[in-house]
Amino acid sequence: MTRRISQILGRGGELNPRNMRLGIWAWLIQRISGLALVVFVVAHVVAISQANFALSGPLFTMLDGLRNPFWSVDRTVLAIDLIMLGIIAFHGMNGIRIVLFDMGVGVGLRSHKVIFWILVAIGVVVGGLVIFYGLPLIGGT
């Protein structure tokens, strides 16, 4: 690295939470959520494939365990999948904001923040609808 971490995280650094505003938070969460989603996609493909390949072992027992958190009583709640739905909604909506910005839509600072929160609201609504309609189907009741 050409700059020390202490310069980036220290006083005056752009990744010091005291200096961070909405835009840099969105960038940071976009990066972290993206890396988490790469891991999730690989785990999702392996989990969906395990029935087809009749795979077994501690890894797949753990994947099944993630689908049965200890607080569920009657229903199987896909806790990790629900968390990932929220991450997907943010990552997708922020990505759309970036595409709009690159196209020149909402370049001004105030309209930029308005667009960000509108897209967050859309993501929350769509995510809520997916959970509302999808959860009973997942629970199998």
Binding site: G34, L35, V41, V42, V45, G92, I96, G134
Partner: protein
């Protein structure tokens, strides 16, 4: 985003053939792998890894992506041909 939306809708509401669902799944997998691994490459290259490092990172991620796509296609192949 569009393919992901179709994938989620089909999982909960649609009644397509298993073959269509599997083909859409493979398309989504390919797009998601490309987008995700390109993002990982961007994050790694932001750490100034040098010319040789760039080639190495690109090749490794390309191999991981192709292997993951083939793994996913192999899993969905019976549905594609038999659905």
């Amino acid at each position: 985003m569009v393919v992901l939306g179709v994938h989620l809708w089909l999982a909960n509401f649609g009644q397509p053939t298993a073959s269509l669902r599997a083909i859409l799944g493979v398309i989504l997998l390919g797009l998601a792998l490309f987008h995700g691994l390109n993002g990982v490459r961007t994050v790694i290259l932001d750490f100034n890894v040098g010319t040789q490092g760039r080639k190495f990172v690109t090749m490794i991620l390309l191999l991981v992506g192709v292997a993951s796509l083939l793994f996913g296609m192999h899993g969905l192949w019976p549905l594609i041909v038999g659905g």
